[in-house]
Symmetry: C2
């Protein structure tokens, strides 16, 4: 309900993204992560092997602002670069991974607030930026 | 002079990385970028089409702390995931791109301060973290 069909389709075709968080000192960190789009909640759900013990999990407790990017390169030119960056508010959540016992039950759940995309929509090439309106249910919006 | 031979070799085999910066409001941003390792200075040099006008270029003026990650997946398991994250201090620099007129002359130059790697060294699999000592020539170290 937060991402468009075109955005969801692009994400579904990619396996990994990179998540940026901010330490209590104000410095960024960035890591490759697996992810899935939660169609029910409209969130990006990020799981990991040791998520509950990770620095990124601790970072979102002090600064819930995060940025997540998925990208690929079809060919080496500006027109061949595709990405979608999702900025939003992260929430620490706990889930039951029924299909894997390798992943920690703690996950980072991103509530999208702003989407910046490049060449994601074949019908509208180039940059596309939009804010995602909220029902006011999530404070701390960046 | 800042990265090891093993680290440099891994970077040389990859074409793109992702750069995380922090806005004046304290929220992270992350974008796919091209990069090169500057063997003379020991820096990561990041160029782009419109670098001088980009948000990341403005961000480093107010907060020079950045994180840069390069990663790939050899196979879908913890042992198959490789990445190198370089945290450091970013400097706005100007260069002459002799081999390309598509790139802006402004670049972001990262002075590495901390390296976190996973499965980069075939002789030492797993995580490897180290700080990079400086000669005290660059203030603002994170």
């Amino acid at each position: 309900v937060s991402l468009t069909e075109v955005e969801q389709r692009y994400l579904a075709g990619q396996r990994h993204g990179r998540l940026a968080t901010v330490t209590p000192c104000g410095a960024p960190q960035v890591k490759p992560v697996g992810f899935s789009y939660n169609t029910e909640l409209g969130t990006i759900d990020i799981a990991g092997f040791q998520m509950g013990n990770s620095a990124k999990y601790r970072n979102i407790a002090t600064n819930p602002a995060v940025a997540f990017v998925v990208d690929d390169v079809l060919f080496e030119a500006f027109e061949g670069v595709r990405f979608i960056e999702i900025r939003g508010v992260a929430e620490a959540a706990v889930v039951d991974h029924q299909d894997s016992d390798h992943l920690a039950s703690e996950i980072i759940r991103i509530h999208p607030r702003r989407v910046i995309a490049l060449n994601i929509d074949p019908h509208n090439p180039g940059f596309a930026t939009r804010d995602i309106a909220t029902a006011g249910d999530r404070p701390g919006v960046t």
